[in-house]
């Protein structure tokens, strides 16, 4: 069995080449470590490029009253105080420095009149705080980090998927994966591993996330015994495209409603009259999302499970002037002229607040030598993330994880690789070719997405969640019997077999955590427990593997130091 596999060796192996992964790589390189970066897609194309809004940093360039304390308070308030307060503090204190540094490395930002970085307002931020480059800040970040990274010289393993982490006793020893293009297996020996794999959106049918977001990092960490945290907190944006299929999930900015867009159901009724007659379409995100969700659930949704969002009653020139990028994007990608016909929209799965439980200072997981940063890690955002806090998260904690991973590697001897673990990883991946009869992974994926959409979506209740948990259990049985035609040569069906294992793990973790949280807090909305519950607000849900069983336990949030508590208390008086 144990054939000689292509093997690479690094001090630090980074899985994922988005903002967090690249920032970690640059930091580890600066420490003198040998660094390998593995990514599923091409270098420079990671999901971060799709980020639009900006990087939140309390630089005070526009609103000089801004400072890290206010940013800290805003982040905690947005997260409904479930955040890891130390992470929220570090993030607020260091994000400005990370932005300046990114600019020094060549990033271009929009300017104020006196030549400093311009900052714009965003939901939940007290002051104008988002440093941005038009509406494509993510691309700027990736381009700058990529240019720096390739010049500094890391080894990039593109179009490669990691399916297993390898351990030596209780410490991390490397990773096992395959080249997507030819299906050959590859082994990475590493003293430290940084997970920067992003989120889990592909477990839902309507998502703004790219195909890479299958929860790999969280599932990999879970399999080797690391803890996951806050998995119930999945952020949905109220308006994503549900049709046509080519643009499914694509975000429709709130500005469309702001400029007069009207929401209608299948019967043509302007249904917001029943949910918020005063504010109508300009109601808050959660109310709009809940209204669309309810219309669909009660059978008044559009053919493709959404609502119509129509701005065609406005003069075409007005729409083109006020919503240029929306107009352009819909014409180009969907052949929908929004000045003439309505969009079909519904809540779209957007961001995962939960993830690998990490130490605030270092991004260290509960497994020695394993680190996580960015969306794959939990803690900073608590129960809900503020816009702009994601890109800053990638820079602040990407750097910290890269530094800690390099330092950890310095104290380690080369790690031996256990042939038995590789054998097992190989067997798992080859199984779908050996089953003569069985199911297509596409069918199982479709079923998972339907379960997550209808039962573990934007609004939840105990009955649905329990039914989802049972169904996920059945899917786990079904994936034992997947079958796939063809060979290992670029075979998306085969890739999906592996991704399904990850998606089922994270889906189960989300569902179990959602059942355990009997309250509504931030992005977790329970129809059967509609209010905040003081006791639940004092604890995190922790997920860990015991044998083949997923265990959930609740842990109290450590007490906040008096100085940080004082910052939060100040805010109450100011009404910020």
């Amino acid at each position: 069995m144990n054939a000689e596999f292509e093997t690479h060796e690094h001090d630090v192996l980074i899985i994922g080449a988005g903002g967090a992964g690249l920032r970690a790589a640059i930091e580890a390189l600066a420490q003198g470590a040998s660094v390998g970066v593995v990514c599923k897609s091409l270098l420079g194309k990671a999901h971060t490029v799709m980020a639009e809004g900006g990087i939140a940093a309390a630089m005070g360039n526009v609103d000089s009253a801004d400072n890290w304390r206010t940013h800290f308070r805003d982040t905690m308030q947005g997260g409904k105080f479930l955040n890891n307060w130390r992470m929220a503090q570090i993030h607020a204190q260091e994000s400005s420095e990370r932005v300046v540094e990114l600019e020094q490395w060549g990033a271009l930002f929009d300017r104020t009149e006196d030549g400093r970085i311009l900052q714009r307002a965003f939901g939940g931020h007290t002051y104008k705080r988002l440093c941005h480059v038009g509406d494509r800040t993510g691309l700027e970040m990736i381009r700058t980090l990529q240019d720096r990274g390739v010049q500094m010289g890391f080894d990039v393993y593109m179009e490669c998927t990691i399916t297993r982490l390898l351990k030596d006793g209780d410490r991390i020893a490397g990773a096992f994966g395959y080249w997507r293009e030819n299906g050959r297996f590859v082994v990475f020996k590493a003293k430290s591993v940084v997970l920067a794999t992003g989120g889990i959106g592909k477990a839902w049918p309507i998502t703004s996330n790219s195909w890479e977001y299958t929860g790999d990092g969280m599932a990999l960490a879970y399999e080797v015994g690391a803890e996951l945290m806050d998995m119930e907190f999945v952020q949905f944006h109220p308006t994503g495209m549900v049709w046509p299929p080519g643009v499914q999930g694509l975000l429709v900015t709130e500005a469309v409603r702001g400029e007069g867009g009207i929401l209608r159901n299948r019967t043509g009724e302007r249904f917001m009259e029943r949910y918020d007659p005063k504010r109508m379409e300009l109601s808050t995100r959660d109310v709009v999302a809940r209204a669309i969700f309810t219309e669909v659930r009660e059978g008044r949704g559009t053919e493709h499970g959404g609502a119509f969002l129509d701005i065609s009653h406005k003069p075409a020139e007005y729409v083109k002037r006020k919503l240029p990028s929306m107009y352009h994007q819909f014409l180009e990608l969907a052949d929908v002229d929004i000045t003439k016909s309505p969009m079909e929209v519904g809540p779209t799965c957007h961001y995962m607040m939960g993830g690998v439980r990490v130490e605030a200072e270092t991004g260290a997981s509960t497994i020695r030598g394993l680190f996580a940063a960015g969306e794959a890690a939990a803690g900073l955002h608590g129960a809900n993330r503020l816009g702009g806090n994601s890109l800053s998260d990638l820079l602040v904690f990407g750097k910290r994880a890269g530094l800690a991973a390099a330092q950890h590697a310095k104290g380690q001897t080369t790690t031996p690789i256990d042939a038995a673990q590789i054998d097992q990883a190989e067997r798992e991946m080859l199984a779908p070719f050996e089953h003569q009869t069985g199911e297509s992974p596409h069918a199982v994926h479709g079923d998972l997405q339907q379960i997550m959409q209808s039962l573990v979506g934007i609004y939840r209740n105990e009955e649905d969640l329990k039914s989802a948990l049972q169904s996920i259990g059945q899917l786990r049985d079904r994936i034992q019997n997947l079958t796939i035609g063809g060979s290992r040569m670029f075979n998306p069906g085969w890739h999906l077999c592996g991704d399904l294992t990850s998606m089922l793990t994270v889906s189960e973790a989300v569902t179990r955590s959602a059942i355990a949280r009997r309250e509504s807090r931030g992005a977790h909305s329970r129809l059967d427990y509609a209010n905040l519950d003081a006791q639940s607000g004092k604890q995190n849900n922790i997920i860990v593997r015991r044998g083949s069983e997923m265990i959930l336990r609740q842990e109290p949030i450590p007490a906040m130091p008096a100085d940080l508590q004082a910052i939060l208390d100040e805010g109450k008086g100011a009404g910020a």
Partner: protein, 250 residues
């Protein structure tokens, strides 16, 4: 408007870098709003050719599906463009899909574009600051400067400009319009300008800016409307100025 019943797609396939290419034809049921990438996904789920032969999924690159990542560049009806924004209804049928022709083929529609990274290294498209000193509040840059640089920073590294450039080939070693435009971007950047001289020097050497033949195809094809010919002209002028200056300095 295309036939509303089915869509015919012809794809140039190549199993390995050395193998002989061949064509395969697929017929898909028409769906509203379908694009080239969604068609390739559909073929992957059921890889059967138009004449009912079982085949293998098509290898291709894609990621964001909203034309910001630059992964899915290919030749579509002979034109280099992004597949995610290529709507089937707007294309003549059969839709012909081929890999970019100037880059080594990996398989089918997937090509190796790492030469772009090599070229960015050649022209030193970065700012070598080690970050060990206090960064302060950062450099000043006027709105006007920023607005001038903004279009250059839209590059999505798709390599379409290199594909259509007659001078970008195995004989010239030409770095291509994307890298030259990045030189202009970095040279106008407040901290990037420190390496200005070295970047221009890099463009004087083998495969440098003198290889440009002014075909202007690059600016025509760029999906992000980057003013590439202006970049080449400006950087070319700067290279010339520096070269003449160097001459007198000897």
């Amino acid at each position: 408007m295309a036939n509303r019943k089915s869509v015919i797609i012809k794809i140039r396939r190549q199993q390995t870098p050395e193998a002989e290419p061949h064509w395969e034809e697929f017929s898909l049921p028409w769906k509203p709003g379908m694009n080239v990438i969604s068609s390739l996904m559909e073929i992957a789920e059921n890889p059967v050719t138009r004449d009912s032969k079982q085949t293998t999924p098509i290898t291709y690159d894609s990621n964001c599906l909203e034309e910001v990542c630059g992964s899915c560049a290919m030749l579509i009806n002979g034109k280099a463009r992004m597949a995610c924004s290529a709507l089937i209804d707007k294309l003549d049928q059969p839709v012909l899909l081929e890999p970019l022709s100037k880059f080594p083929i990996i398989r089918d529609l997937s090509v190796d574009r790492r030469v772009l990274f090599e070229n960015l290294k050649r022209v030193k498209a970065w700012v070598p600051i080690d970050g060990t000193y206090d960064l302060g509040s950062g450099p000043r840059m006027t709105m006007h400067q920023q607005e001038a640089a903004y279009p250059l920073s839209r590059c999505i590294s798709c390599c379409c400009c290199m594909e259509v450039c007659p001078q970008f080939n195995e004989h010239t070693n030409f770095v291509g319009a994307a890298a030259i435009s990045q030189v202009r971007l970095f040279n106008t950047h407040p901290t990037g300008a420190a390496l200005k001289r070295e970047r221009l020097t890099a463009l004087m050497g083998d495969g440098g800016i003198h290889e440009c033949g002014y075909a202007q195809n690059c600016v025509e094809i760029c999906p992000k409307d980057i003013p590439l010919t202006r970049s080449i002209a400006e950087v070319g002028g700067a290279v010339m100025k520096q070269a003449i200056g160097d001459l007198f300095r000897r």
